[in-house]
Amino acid sequence: MSDNERNRTAVGGTGEALPDLVELCRIHEIGLDLIGRSHDVDELLDQVLDEYEARLAALPSDALDARSGGPRPESARKLRGLVMFASQAAALKEKAVVASELKRRAAALEEANARLVAALEEAGRSRARLDGVLAALSSGIMILGADGAFLTANAAARDLAGAKDDTALARLIAHGVPRESEAEIDLPTSGGTRRTLLVARRAMPGDPESEVVLVTDVTQRNRAVEERVRLEKLAEVLRTLSVLSHKINNPLTALLGRAQILQARKSDDPNIAKAAAVIEDASIRIADLIRELAQVVRDGRQDAVDELLDMSVATPAMEKRQ
């Protein structure tokens, strides 16, 4: 039912089918005036309600009393005007509800937008902090996207790999180390030496398509490991030499003693005296060698050990030639 139909039905009991045209025009002008004075629906509704209240106050008190047999013609005219304002107020109220809901949603959107902006700013600050941490790290870190495509790398990664551009760096990693594994890559340096990098490719937590690649220079570490192995071997050789010298020294002392006894007996057989002299000389040389060996063990020097071992190996052959 339209407002006009509703109005006619509502006041139909007054006996007049159409509202008075002059009054209708006047109400229309009042409505236009109210609209012109306010663009806010709520405010406009308040003004229409004020007008409604004023017109209500102007109604005779028996105008709404059905028991009195219906309103008189003058009251009916005022009643029609009142109903016209009621229609306007009802329409405005519906719009006010819609406007209020729109305002509420706009406020919610604004709030959500503010939270989003704050979250983006925080994300920006987090990103800046992360970039700072990455830049400060001595270890190289690279981020690879799907299919090993290069996304970003910190300065250390570029320095360590010595790659002139990021694409070359990514290619080097992707070709040298399979996904989800780690391996060492040997690279020549600008100084002509070689550098060993330990490269570990790991899936990015929360983003399995991406990878984080850790690049660590292990050249010094590898050298240190080699040196430690060498020192351990040297220690083992020295320990063996120490044991050998100790074990040889005891029978040697007996051998030297017996040779000296044989010489002291003044045997008639010259061969025995000569043999005793040779045994004594050889024993003394062995004793000297053992003293040198003991000294080497005390010093713990690799070159001395090597020299001694060379001499030990060379001596029998030289004597044989003599």
Partner: protein, 110 residues
């Protein structure tokens, strides 16, 4: 005529009793007392179950309470309407403007 205001949560329930009608004879007194009891309460439920008849002055009281709630950023709800009161509000189309409920609890929960 007696008016009673009771706070129920965020809502103040205003009950009118002791008189069959709000009309030209008592409207000004009812309105003044109601506004005094409600103060600046924004959300109001007006229980009219004790009222049988309203004339234009009585309707003016209800419009005044409705505007007062709007002024304080809230809502006025009306309940317990007798057939006579309901027909008057429908005649002047206030049923399209007011929030009208069958009983107090429904009005408070709305």
């Amino acid at each position: 005529m007696k008016l009673q205001a009771v706070r129920e949560g965020r809502v103040v329930r205003l009950t009118v009793s002791g008189c069959d009608a709000i009309d030209n004879a008592n409207a000004a007194k009812v309105k003044a007392e109601a506004l005094r009891l409600l103060g600046d309460a924004p959300d109001v439920v007006v229980d009219l179950s004790g009222v049988e008849f309203l004339d234009s002055a009585g309707v003016g009281v209800l419009v005044g309470l409705f505007k007062n709630s709007r002024l304080h950023g809230g809502r006025a709800r009306f309940c317990g309407l007798s057939p006579g009161v309901r027909s008057v509000l429908e005649l002047i189309q206030l049923d399209r403007i007011f929030e009208i409920y069958d009983d107090v609890q429904t009005a408070i929960r709305s």
